[in-house]
Amino acid sequence: MGGDHSEVLQGTLDLMVLKTLESMGPLHGYGIARRIEQVSGNALTLNQGTIYPALLRLEQRGWIKAGWGVSESNRRAKFYALSPAGQKQIEEETGNWERTAATMARFLAPSG
């Protein structure tokens, strides 16, 4: 693994998936995984498999919905879409992240 690659932080994967679905609309698992890799500029090493338990978790919480459809290359695939509850969750989580990031930034900024 390259030095500039980092593991996905626990808990952040959920938000990434939700955000991806918000910007891309309904998408299958492979699409979501590829999109996350692209957005992060391949800085994240994502075992693509790990998004499936995450998708199931989000579905169980009611933040996303799942259904079978057909992919661009005519494969039967399971598509995921954001639910209204998921939309609200994104706002809440985004707020949390921004507060955390701001706090961290204050700690990391050179003092004085």
Binding site: N47, Y52, Q60, G62, R75, R76, A77
Partner: protein
Amino acid sequence: MDAIRILLSRCAALFRRRNLEEELEEELRTHIGLAVEENIRRGMTALEARTAALRSFGGVTQTKEAYRMQRGFPSVEMLVRDLRYALRQLLRNPGFTLTVILTLALAVGANTAIFSIVNALMLNSLPFAHPERMGAIYARAAGSLAFDERIDIDGEQWEALRDHVPALISAVAGETSGASGVNLRAGEHVQYIHAGRISAHYLDVLSIHPEAGRNFSEAEDLPHGAKTAILSYGLWRNIFGGDRNLLGETILLKGEPYTVIGVLPEGAITPLNADVYTALQPSREGEGGGLNYEPILRLRDGVTWQQADAEIGRAWAERAANFAKYNHGARLSYYSVPLQKAQTGELRPKVLTLMLAAGFILLIACANLAGLALVRILRRTPEIATRLALGASRWQIQKQLWVENLILALGGGLAGVGVGFLALRGLLLLLPENFLPVADVTLDGRVLAFTLVVSLLTSVLFGMLPALATRKMDLRSSMASRAEAGGYRLRLRQALIAGEVALTVVLLAASGLLIRALIHLETQPAGFNPTGVMTAKASLDDARYHDPAAFRKLLDESISAMQQIPGVQVAAVGLSLPYERALNDAVTIHDGKEAGQQFGTDVVYITPDYFDALQIPVLLGRRFTAADGPNAQPVVIVNRSFMRKFFHGAIPVGRTLNKNAVIVGVVDDVQLSSGLNPVAPLMTEETMYIPAAQMNAQLLPLVHTWFQPSWIVRTAAPVEGLTQQMQRALASADPSLPFSGFYSMSGLLAKTLATQRIEVALLSAMAGLALLLSMVGIFALVANLVAQRTREIGIRIALGSSIRQAMIHVGGTGVRASFFGLIAGLVLCIGALRAMRSVLYGVRVYDAPTILAVLVTLIAVTLLATSIPVLRIARIDPAKTLRDE
């Protein structure tokens, strides 16, 4: 909300598992497919594209597993899977499984049976309301004649208890050893039934209210009060057909009319367990002059036992002071004890000893099973190592092993309940009637809970070793090697065997000692000739025989009728027989240098031919004759013990006892059940015989409330229909007097030694079980060793070792283990057997024949258990074993 939704979705997943599994499969296939397509578009070859896709996906299996964990209840699913796997594993090894279940069934069964008795005697409440408020009275004294036991009281103590202890409802019963037999005349029939004599309020103490009628009143319980009776429900139904009009009517009991005043409710249980109850009418005279009343108590509401004890102490203060005066200031104190404890007091140590023995069996079984499980785990090392290599965690392996143990424990426990039930039924059949002071012994919830806990405990004990063994398992070497038994594990197994052999030695020695004691009791010289004697008892607790003349007439007529029976040589009557308990009374020496000394002695009234009928040798002086009648000089005959103890061996013939009774003869001692100073169940005791014809009118009714006299006939050869002829002979003297039972002398001996026989039977069964388990253990150790080392032995033989050397090499392992166990067991015996001193008669704790028998038994069993598997070595073909490499 969220939590509920997740829970529902997970629950749904449990049931839709197959479908969901297919969906997951398809989704992941699509994922890989899409990735491959994209990679091909980027210019990779099909193979490269697939490899790259799989690499960026990560582990497919791990993803599925993580997904499943998220989806349902992984723990439940996994448990089901572990259970299924464990069952498969166990079924694949039926020999092992069956051995374990059988071993457990025997060990757990023994424990279940014994525990159900402990439960019935000590844990279950007595079948009365608020049993914790019921009690009995104990007396405790310190010093040289220290004792601490349940007491019976006399009439004076009873009056003080009744009138000056307001904290208690007190009552007394007249029979100190259960109900006594009496005759009830119902229509033309005379029925022999059990009667209990109880004071007023006895049923109040038990909190039993008659279903019809009432309890005895205090007036009815006064001396010379009205004769009243309360019937048990069973008697009322069976004899009187449940007739409600019976209340107020009279029945003919003990030859007198009694007014029926009450009927007990169905299923009512009393400590006396009688068919009919009459008012005791306690007094200070006669029976009440001695300690012949058995008190039971109920604490009144709002009072404590401490208060009650204090009141009893005050009420009987004079008694305690007298005791101190005559016993060098020894302090005597009275206190109450819960009724349950008082009723089971004597059986308690015996039952707890058996429980301990059962615990030994369990430990032995555990040691065996641990050894077996250890071998099994070693054999499974490659399988376990493979599973570890495939990514199973050590925790998962451990869990799997424990699940298997759990299944074995539960299976064994279930079989154990079955074995326990059968053992208990068998045991209860073995016990004489009314041996246990409880109505029934059942496998109730508490017993089943105990069995479950014991089974689980067993599985923990025998599962621990193999579980520890896998923790040390090294992956690489385990997969490579063919699971050879390491030296340390062999030593561990040998230690287990040694441990179980040690416990077996203790059990064997203990049961051996009990057997020796029983043999001693049964073979010590009886002092008479028991063969060819038949006896029969009848209740003379009957108003018609309160008159000595009527009593004499009955004896004369019945005895001469019995003499007429063809084949009968001698017939006689005696108040009690050898092997039985005799009446105790005080006797005073009237003359000589011992004049004025008073002693306790057994007293037996007899007819002149009693000594001939039993063939008791007359040592000095003469027998009684027909001339020793009511108006003749009062005479007595004493036995050898009486002469030795009270006259220090001087010839007592011609001396006078109790003012005017002259000793005319001395007879030999006979073995009897001791009442005076019971140090052994069967012993000789100082005895005074008096002619039945000289029984006075005061004593006669009294002795017959306690004792049923025996008619004795001696025949040269067995006589066809002897008992019927005896009954007819009695009927010729009194048609309404039935015999209550017929007893041969060997039957009486068995009855007297029933407790000892049961102890021997139970402990021997336990020791036998222990021996069997140890034998299986040694056998398994050596057999496994032969199986594991077949290759090594083959090589040794190929290299020139003889088969004999190979046999000794392998068999030595079992013999050594057994030998160390034997030594350890003997060391244990030194301490453990001392506790048995009080139940051993005529045999010392360190008894050479017993130890020798234990040694021989164990050596024989060890050799047998080792030689069977070792002989298999002879069939090893070195060429074949080497080819198999």
